[in-house]
């Protein structure tokens, strides 16, 4: 048991987060009982905020679109205290199935992506040959996913999942996407910002592509104020990629549930 005065000397380190987790917890308990201390910390934090202001640097402009897109798909918390552990809701890099780091798919193609692109081309050829069969197997899935799209509860469930993982990246041809994924739920929420506008005859379509087969997830709804989605994709399987293509708006040209156009986005899930 330490003396209160001893705890109080942690005010400076606490205000600058220069403190170990156990010490932070100890000081938090102290603050809850000591109003003067809370006031002092508030004052010190006004000072540290000024230190932050002196370090201001403009972030890359694309960041704003991403933040806005994810915010649009993120449920806000109600006022008042909550027992939820702070700042732990968006852990990054916890997706056990992912085989490469987040950033690689933004830059140059990796061998793995080229492989997938090649597979996509083969799939496209096959799709043309099998044009007639569309709707038999994937129609039901589409209905299901359209309903999922309407369910903001489902979106919220993924976003608040304990293992929610967020990825962001650029779309070939313009725009950024944000994906929040829950491994345990085998679901992801997809949103996009500033996708290149398509002619009325075409629309963006989302796909799951992997060893378990290629599945059309959903024809994305038209963008509103530059924002597309959120939409939910369910039934993720190990090894799946998420792909985005620009397909005929009718959706009738990819009977076998395979993309007919080059992938504008390919994310290893």
């Amino acid at each position: 048991m330490r003396h209160t005065r001893d705890v109080h000397t942690l005010a400076g380190p606490y205000a600058m987060d220069a403190i170990s987790p156990p010490d932070r917890a100890r000081f938090d308990r102290h603050l809850a009982r000591c109003e003067d201390c809370a006031r002092e910390i508030a004052g010190l934090r006004e000072a540290t905020a000024r230190l932050a202001a002196a370090a201001a640097v403009s972030p890359p402009p694309a960041l704003k679109a991403r933040v806005m897109a994810v915010a649009a798909a993120t449920r806000q918390r109600p006022p008042g205290p909550e027992p939820e552990p702070a700042l732990r809701t968006w852990p990054l890099r916890t997706w056990p199935l992912r085989t490469r780091p987040l950033r690689t798919w933004q830059g140059r193609p990796t061998p793995s992506r080229r492989l997938v692109m090649a597979a996509g081309a083969v799939a496209a050829a096959a799709a043309v040959a099998a044009a007639v069969v569309f709707g038999v197997s994937s129609g039901g899935m589409r209905d299901q996913l359209s309903q999922a799209q309407a369910s903001s509860q489902q979106v919220a469930a993924v976003l608040t999942a304990r293992d929610a993982t967020m990825m962001t990246g650029a779309v070939r041809g313009g725009g950024t996407v944000t994906i929040v994924m829950s491994h345990s739920m085998r679901e992801l929420v997809f949103t996009a910002a500033a996708l290149h506008a398509l002619p009325a005859s075409r629309g963006y379509e989302l796909w799951l592509i992997g060893p378990a087969g290629d599945r059309a997830v959903i024809m994305l709804p038209p963008a509103r104020h530059g924002m597309t989605g959120p939409v939910v994709a369910s039934g993720l399987r190990p090894g799946d990629h998420l792909a985005l293509t620009a397909e005929p708006a009718s959706g009738a040209a990819h009977p076998a549930g395979r993309p007919t156009t080059p992938m504008m986005l390919d994310v290893v899930l």
């Binding site: 000397t9 942690l10 005010a11 400076g12 380190p13 205000a15 600058m16 987060d17 220069a18 403190i19 170990s20 809370a38 006031r39 002092e40 508030a42 004052g43 010190l44 934090r45 006004e46 000072a47 540290t48 905020a49 000024r50 230190l51 932050a52 202001a53 002196a54 370090a55 201001a56 640097v57 403009s58 972030p59 890359p60 960041l63 704003k64 991403r66 933040v67 806005m68 994810v70 915010a71 649009a72 993120t74 449920r75 806000q76 918390r77 109600p78 006022p79 008042g80 909550e82 700042l87 809701t89 968006w90 990054l92 950033r103 967020m166 962001t168």
Partner: protein, 200 residues
């Protein structure tokens, strides 16, 4: 209703350093708490550079800094209703979130790999001004106030706040007992607070 004319595209968007900005940010945060995306757009414009700046100072890696900045701003969106103006300014609330997130990221990364980090004092002098967006006046004021500290106080604050070190790490970097560093940090912040003329 509020005094904000939300149809006016030229509405003032003061930076965090200007007088009145804090009250303004508070007003916008209240709107954000009600799910107002336009208000969040404004909040982003007001705080993004400061958030990104301090995160980048601590984290260094630009890609990771962007990720952390995004997390912080989403945290602002999600938790806007939790902000209590009675317990400090909106700017301080956002910057506290930002700094803590940056520090959490650095420490979790450090756990993974014992990567070599030069000291913040040597690497990033407190008067670094590259790519600055904040008014040089504000920067100058902070620099002057940092300059009014004793050397030990200044090094403690710089290593802890800009470097993301714990006080015990600062103590061993500077070869000074931990108890001394704790006290110097508190003294330094009190002096900074008074020098910068912030309400306490």
């Amino acid at each position: 209703m509020t005094a904000i004319d939300r149809s006016d595209p030229d509405r003032a968007r003061p930076s965090a350093a200007e007088p009145g900005a804090a009250a303004d940010l508070t007003t916008y945060l209240r709107l954000v708490a009600r799910g107002d995306a336009d208000a969040f757009d404004t909040v982003y414009d007001q705080v993004a550079a400061t958030v990104f700046g301090i995160v980048r100072r601590v984290v260094r890696d630009p890609a990771q800094s962007e990720e952390v900045t995004q997390d912080v701003l989403l945290e602002v969106w999600r938790n806007a209703a939790k902000f209590d103006p009675g317990r400090g300014s909106a700017t301080a609330w956002v910057m506290t979130l930002a700094h803590r997130r940056a520090v959490d990221r650095v420490r979790s990364v450090q756990k993974e790999s014992e990567r070599e980090r030069r000291t913040a004092v040597a690497d990033v002098p407190f008067d670094e001004v590259a790519e600055a967006v904040e008014s040089s006046l504000e920067r100058e004021r902070v620099r002057r106030c940092l300059g009014s500290l004793t050397e030990l106080q200044r090094e403690s604050v710089t290593l802890a706040y800009y470097g993301g070190y714990t006080y015990s790490q600062v103590a061993s970097l500077l070869g000074v007992p931990g108890g001394t560093i704790k006290t110097r940090m508190r003294d330094a912040l009190i002096r900074l607070r008074d020098c910068l003329g912030v309400a306490s």
